[in-house]
Amino acid sequence: MRIELKKRENMSSLFSILSPFIALGLTLIAGVILFVSLGKDPVAALYSFFIEPLTEVWSLHELAIKAAPLILIAVGLSVCYRSNNWNIGAEGQFIIGAMAGSILPVVFHGWESPLMLPLMMIFGMIGGALYAAIPAFLKARLNTNEILTSLMLVYIAQLLLDWTVRGPWRNPEGFNFPETRNFADNAVLPRIIETGKTHWGFGFALIAAIVLWFVMRRMLKGFEISVLGQSARAGRFAGFSDKKMVYFAFLVSGALAGLAGISEVSGAIGQLRPVISPGYGFTAIIVAFLGRLNPLGIVAAGLILALTYLGGEAAQISIGITDKVTRLFQGLLLFFVLGCDTLIHYRIRVIFGAAHKGSAA
């Protein structure tokens, strides 16, 4: 027996719009099965996972704080993925961006200037972009596989951060805890509204999403991105350079991941620690695909994935299950999104029996 995927002659445009919603529904069904087999009441569990975090104002702010880095990174990744550049290393670019942005508040502690925050953000973007330039250079010049190089650079970034906060940047007044100094007030991203904790990182995310939506929708640059993503040969015919696009895509997504990193550190954490991200750079890949690589769709998808982080914490407290369930839900969601997309483009054909013997045999 053999199972084949056959390309559909006509794909349904209705279903390609519905696909993320079907994936969400299937994830919920899988969640019910999961909770039942754990012996928990599925309704209560799903309620505390997906609804409870939406019922209180403070947790809505938490949602925005968690969604901000996801959206920022995923919007950048959408440029990469649309141009057929597979940047899997946003987590590393996030970390290096956070470290580069932290140079001013940590090394030049006590420097007072209104330029502090803008410079931190710019340093963060430059840091992330430079780190993303490494796999871009390797791909454009040496034709290496960017999936591998960008992913491997994540682990280097994580270990570099770990070493830095335990060694050269450790807080001299911090009782030997592996942390940097707390950022001074002028190095902390302000809140968007006074009543809640949501900081400007969320604002950056929305601005980035709208700007890139406009670029993709209206500008020749956006056209260039899609053409090169769909056919490099046609792109060359149009006079676009696929090598330059490798750099462009990686630098944009690296800069946005770096901005997400420094925003998170400056707005939500207030110092560098050995671990500053619960895997935002990887979760953002799910966000990008769930949002159909459309910057506005990514805003919605970012909020949904942020909810799984909050839900995991809530479920840990209220029904006493491990917060690993967060990763599980994220994985299920990605699986179902990709599965739905595949089945919209292809249909499954099962072929029974061995193939016929050729008469020449």
């Binding site: 209206r218 056209f223 193939a355 016929h356 020449a360």
Partner: protein, 524 residues
């Protein structure tokens, strides 16, 4: 009774229908192929020939109707089942691995584990028997297109089929190679096998086919004995009206020198690409220069360096309108007034998944910057202006499409090609370079495209047409050159060129020029 028996067709379709969405690609097709006949399937591109054949070979499932094999209804669910039934097929685009040998390629297509030695032996025997000389241990990459086609034919013959389907088999062959193929087909017929021969070359069909079925818009418009018909009556059945005669009248005296190629050499970019060697050519305003040659002799490499998709080391090797452009990219060459039409429509000249308007922007975003873009450095695309230009092109070139702005991939080959050619003509290029302008395009669209190229030259542009189709070459060219293994022969006036001479040049025999012959001798 005996009589009755011979009248049972080998393969028959009754009311065979295939529906894609709202399009009836094949509509109620009745077709009967008798044992031991060469049956032609004629039709424009988009007429439904490929769809019909794919149903017969089990690649597509019919939406309705039935297929009868020797009078009994059968269902053919896959190419494997088709082969088991007794149907073999030779596709227009070969599916061969260049890095493997002939025997290995044949083995890949067979089911089960037949030892490779047996396959070699069998392939050698068949190839000799049918006059298709083939060395089973040769690497495919080293073979000519004609030889590659023989592999496909031998591969089909190994299955001992009773019906062999050939999809546009001569479109890639030299006249001499085509003659060889016809002998093979005659032999197959003499053995009592049937051949379904798909073509749009009317003379060929008249020469070798016993019966013909003509399709138009997915319907059968005629079943006839092609020998009783004239080319124009066949063409009428195909396109539903007289095919416009191409007229080269009015091509005046050549004017200003617009393209100069001077000692152009380019190394091959991959093991399977062809290096260009010392190419010399000049084209003047008002001329159509055709470059004939068998596929894979450096045509696409030459196109790429002319268009600027590949640049050459020596800027002076190519001059366009007096400017050295060897180091210029395609965008700068377009800004000099050049238009380019590459061979491959899907994924090179057009992005299949994108609508026509986007494909218009593809080649004209810089040359028509003032009309198509606004916002200065922002580069905002003016969708209205682009849509208007796209409608204009579709009207001028008679591009038939479903909907206002469909995806390029949804158009039939001929209609997409009309759009791609029209996209460049619309801006009146001073220099136009076209690679295989009517490859796989139906008669109606082809004559329209050819006329448009001649009209462009009449209006004072220099036109270079790279083509494998000799009918086309003679129809439109003022001068003809032949490309062979990266060498280009001197362009000679079309009036003094003959098919035989072109055939010889295609084979690398340049009379009077010692080196090609010496090299050919050296190679053997």
């Amino acid at each position: 009774m005996q009589n009755q028996k011979t009248e049972t067709p080998l393969l028959e379709t009754r009311g065979l229908t295939k529906i894609f969405g709202s399009l009836r690609a094949c509509d109620d097709i009745d077709l009967a192929i008798a044992p031991g006949e060469i049956h032609a399937l004629l039709g424009e591109n988009g007429a439904g020939k490929s769809t019909l054949v794919k149903m017969l070979f089990g690649v597509l499932d019919p939406s309705g109707g039935e297929i009868l094999w020797k009078g009994k209804p059968v269902s053919i669910g896959s190419p494997g089942e088709a082969r088991a039934t007794g149907v073999g097929m030779v596709f227009q685009h070969f599916s061969l691995f260049e890095a493997l040998t002939v025997a290995e390629n044949i083995a890949l297509a067979l089911d089960g584990n037949v030892p490779i030695d047996r396959i070699s032996e069998e392939a050698r025997r068949l190839s000799l028997e049918y006059g298709l000389p083939l060395d089973p241990s040769a690497h495919v990459a080293d073979l000519s297109v004609g030889e590659r086609q023989r592999i496909e034919i031998v591969r089909a013959l190994l299955q001992n089929p009773e019906l062999i389907i050939l999809d546009e088999p001569t479109s890639v062959l030299t006249p001499q190679e085509a003659d060889k193929l016809f002998e093979t087909l005659a032999k197959l017929r003499a053995e009592g096998r049937s051949v379904l021969y798909i073509s749009h070359r009317l003379e060929e069909v008249q020469r070798i086919c016993d019966r013909a079925t003509v399709l138009r818009h997915g319907k059968v418009t005629g079943a006839c004995d092609p020998r009783q018909e004239t080319p124009s009556s066949l063409a009428r059945m195909m396109v539903g009206g007289e095919v416009a005669e191409i007229s080269g009248a009015g091509l005046g005296e050549p004017g200003e020198l617009l393209i100069e190629i001077n000692k152009l050499s380019a190394p091959s970019r991959s093991p399977f690409a062809v290096a260009l060697k010392d190419i010399e050519l000049s084209v003047r305003a008002g001329e159509v220069v055709a470059i004939a040659g068998v596929a894979g002799n450096g045509q696409s490499e030459l196109f790429d360096v002319l268009s600027g998709e590949d640049q050459v080391a020596d800027a002076e090797a190519i001059r366009i309108r007096g400017k050295a452009v060897g180091r210029m990219g395609i965008t700068d060459r377009r800004l000099l007034g050049c238009g380019f039409v590459p061979e491959e429509r899907h994924g090179h000249a057009a992005v299949t998944e994108m609508p026509l308007t986007a494909n218009l922007v593809l080649s004209r975003h810089s040359s028509d910057r003032s009309a198509f873009l606004s916002g200065g450095p922002l580069g905002l695309i003016n969708t209205d202006a682009v849509a208007k230009a796209s409608r204009r092109i579709c009207e001028v070139m008679d591009v038939r499409k479903s909907g206002d702005d469909p995806a390029a991939g949804s158009l039939s080959g001929g209609n997409l090609q009309k759009f791609i050619v029209g996209r460049e003509l619309d801006r009146q290029p001073v220099v136009m370079v076209v690679n295989q302008p009517t490859w796989g395009v139906d008669a109606g669209a082809a004559s329209r495209i050819r006329q448009a190229l001649i009209d462009l030259a009449k209006s004072g542009s220099a036109v270079v047409v790279i083509s494998q189709d000799l009918d086309e070459v003679f129809e439109i060219a003022s001068r003809i050159a032949v490309i062979n293994e990266g060498h280009l022969s001197a362009a000679e006036p079309a009036s003094t060129m003959t098919r035989e001479r072109i055939g010889l040049l295609m084979g690398g025999f340049h009379d009077g020029s010692g080196h090609a012959e010496a090299e050919a001798a050296h190679a053997h």
